[in-house]
């Protein structure tokens, strides 16, 4: 089923919440939590995610989260979460010092060698976060990155300075640039004078589709970080299908993803169709 063996190198760690709070002045619907779980942090690679549960009782299932950063020295990971349902509301209620059960690292990491390669990263909202570990990895491996980040407001361009330390960053925020301004327009312009070798999209179907179209016309591959409601996160439940583009069934986001070549998978929300 899987082309490479399923990741079974995860652990379940009873980590501890170190910091937790709401980010930015807007609706108060984005939180940031820092969790100490040295075992998981030490093993994490770009593309990995974790299943997180900071609560007892309801909801029953843990929640998939892709950290913005892992700090091996302190054993800490930093997660931004959009507060929308019972799971993220429960995370928001957690106090420092309380237990955070973390299962991870999960999924297939992005482990290619990026020596000499130029990579564009296109992210929006909390979908920006998994791109930072990737950006760091690419630069560490001798590649170049440019980040194209989109959000509702400037507060939600997570990790902006850290991306900026790694390469050029283009930003579009709705409340300044308008809802219709796509950050991929900047990528489109820059593709004209600059060779791009690959693009990774996350957090917006619209931006990812735009990035894919640029890839097709300029001849570079595009990848997407997919999301799916997950039962287990580890390959047991078969509950996280990504619809394959050729109509040829499904792959499992948790063990065969979360990163897929865009040509393989359908780029639309299974419930709501194509949003934003």
């Amino acid at each position: 089923m899987a082309e490479t063996p399923v990741n079974t190198d995860w652990k379940i760690e009873d980590g501890v919440v170190v910091e937790n709070g709401v980010v930015g002045p807007e609706n108060g619907d984005i939180g940031r939590v820092v969790i100490e779980a040295p075992g998981v942090v030490a093993a994490a690679r770009p593309g990995h995610f974790v299943m997180l549960r900071t609560w007892e009782g309801e909801p029953f299932l843990p929640r998939a989260m892709a950290p913005l950063s892992y700090d091996v020295a302190s054993g800490r990971m930093e997660i931004f979460y959009r507060i929308k349902g019972p799971g993220t509301r429960a995370i928001a209620r957690t106090h420092p010092g309380e237990i955070a059960r973390v299962t991870g690292p999960l999924g297939r990491p992005v482990v290619e060698d990026f020596e000499g390669r130029r990579v564009a990263l296109v992210g929006r909202g909390v979908g920006i976060t998994p791109l930072l570990p990737l950006a760091e990895h690419i630069v560490a491996k001798g590649g170049e990155v440019r980040a194209y980040l989109s959000a509702r407001t400037r507060d939600y361009v997570f990790g902006h300075d850290r991306f900026a330390a790694l390469g050029p960053v283009r930003v579009r925020v709705d409340d300044e640039d308008g809802d219709e301004a796509l950050v991929t327009d900047a990528l489109a312009r820059e593709c004209e004078g600059y060779r791009v070798d690959a693009v990774y999209g996350c957090g917006s179907w619209r931006l990812t589709r735009a990035a894919e179209a640029l890839g097709v016309s300029h001849g570079f591959p595009s990848y997407v970080f997919l999301e799916s409601k997950m039962g287990c996160g580890v390959g047991y439940c078969k509950g996280c299908p990504a619809r394959l583009r050729n109509g040829d069934g499904y792959k499992l986001v948790c063990v065969e993803g979360p990163v897929f070549p865009t040509r393989e998978v359908e780029l639309s929300d299974p419930v709501h169709g194509p949003p934003e």
Partner: protein
């Protein structure tokens, strides 16, 4: 004193009474250290079908109060690839291997069981009679006649122990249980998921891709316990209890109601260490209560009152 955790489920000898429920655990050639299938009483595979099938479109899982709905639809590589690619990996495991079989007709059942009987390391088969995707519209286990036909076909094709897994969506579970016992099932597995549905108020539609799904998790524990109790009264073959077990106390309740072994499904998704903890918890409880073996507890509820405290 160390209590004896071993238990028999008909012809199957288990070192402890706890195993994963079909479709909620997979052996991928190795396990994370904290999961370790080697410590399980048995291993049960995800149901396998005769021919390959892709499973249902998204969304496949939804959360519900103290439980979840799934409409996975049994994605399967088909029995041939299963025998070639998947099953051989299980040889590395110590516990008995129970292969869950999803057949769409007695004929399919026959041919799958014939193939499985040739394998060196299949210790039992579990017949999933409770899948809601059958061609002729009913779940096999909703009909005593269809259930008996399927189990009879299986019985004719194999000498392996046969566990018949029944559906809770019936008027009279004991009737179905008696029907499969009569044609040679060696054990019952009770229960599969309960039919349920979730509605998304935003889209105003069924949330699951397949509209309805199967409810599992702690929410259904009282339903499963009641069915185990009832069937224990009505049939002589051993019962494997499943439905909402998340703690050692839950598992003990099933044993007391009459199960000789238990399966743990949805709880693993919340906490992958669940099985290990349940096994340890049962052992601790037996020791505390000064019991010698798990078997002493099985069906205790049916014996009458234990007098305590006086």
């Amino acid at each position: 004193m160390k209590a004896e955790l071993a238990t028999d489920v008909g012809p199957l000898r288990l070192k402890n009474p706890v195993m994963p429920a079909s479709g909620t655990y997979d052996w991928f050639g190795r396990d994370p250290e904290q999961v370790s299938a080697d410590s399980f009483g048995a291993v049960v595979t995800k149901s396998v079908t005769l021919r390959p099938q892709a499973g249902n479109p998204p969304i496949r899982v939804a959360e519900t109060p103290s439980g979840m709905l799934n409409a996975i639809g049994i994605p399967s590589v088909g029995i041939e690839e299963f025998l070639e690619e998947v099953l051989p990996q299980y040889h590395a495991l110590d516990p008995p291997v129970i292969v869950s079989v999803q057949a769409y007709s007695p004929r399919e059942c026959e041919s799958m069981l014939a193939r499985l009987s040739e394998q060196p390391r299949v210790d039992a088969v579990e017949l999933n009679l409770s899948c809601p995707n059958l061609a002729h519209g009913t779940i096999t286990a909703q009909s005593a006649r269809l259930s008996a036909e399927m189990v009879a076909a299986a019985r004719g094709a194999t000498r392996l122990p046969i566990v018949a897994k029944l559906s809770p969506n019936v008027t009279d579970i004991a009737e179905i249980a008696r029907a499969v016992e009569e044609v040679g099932a060696d054990a019952l597995c009770l229960i599969n998921t309960v039919k349920g549905m979730a509605v998304d108020v935003e889209t105003r539609q069924a949330l699951l891709g397949n509209r309805s799904g199967g409810l599992s998790g702690p929410a259904i524990k009282p339903i499963a316990l009641s069915m185990v109790w009832e069937c224990y009264q009505e049939v002589d073959i051993p019962i494997v209890g499943v439905g909402g077990i998340a703690t050692a106390e839950d598992a003990l309740q099933f044993l007391l109601a009459g199960a000789r072994a238990v399966q743990v499904g949805t709880a693993t998704f919340r906490e992958p260490r669940s099985l290990a903890r349940i096994i340890a918890g049962i052992e601790e409880h037996l020791a505390q209560d000064g019991l010698h073996s798990v078997g002493e507890l099985v069906g205790w509820c049916h014996k009458g009152r234990l007098t305590v405290g006086s």
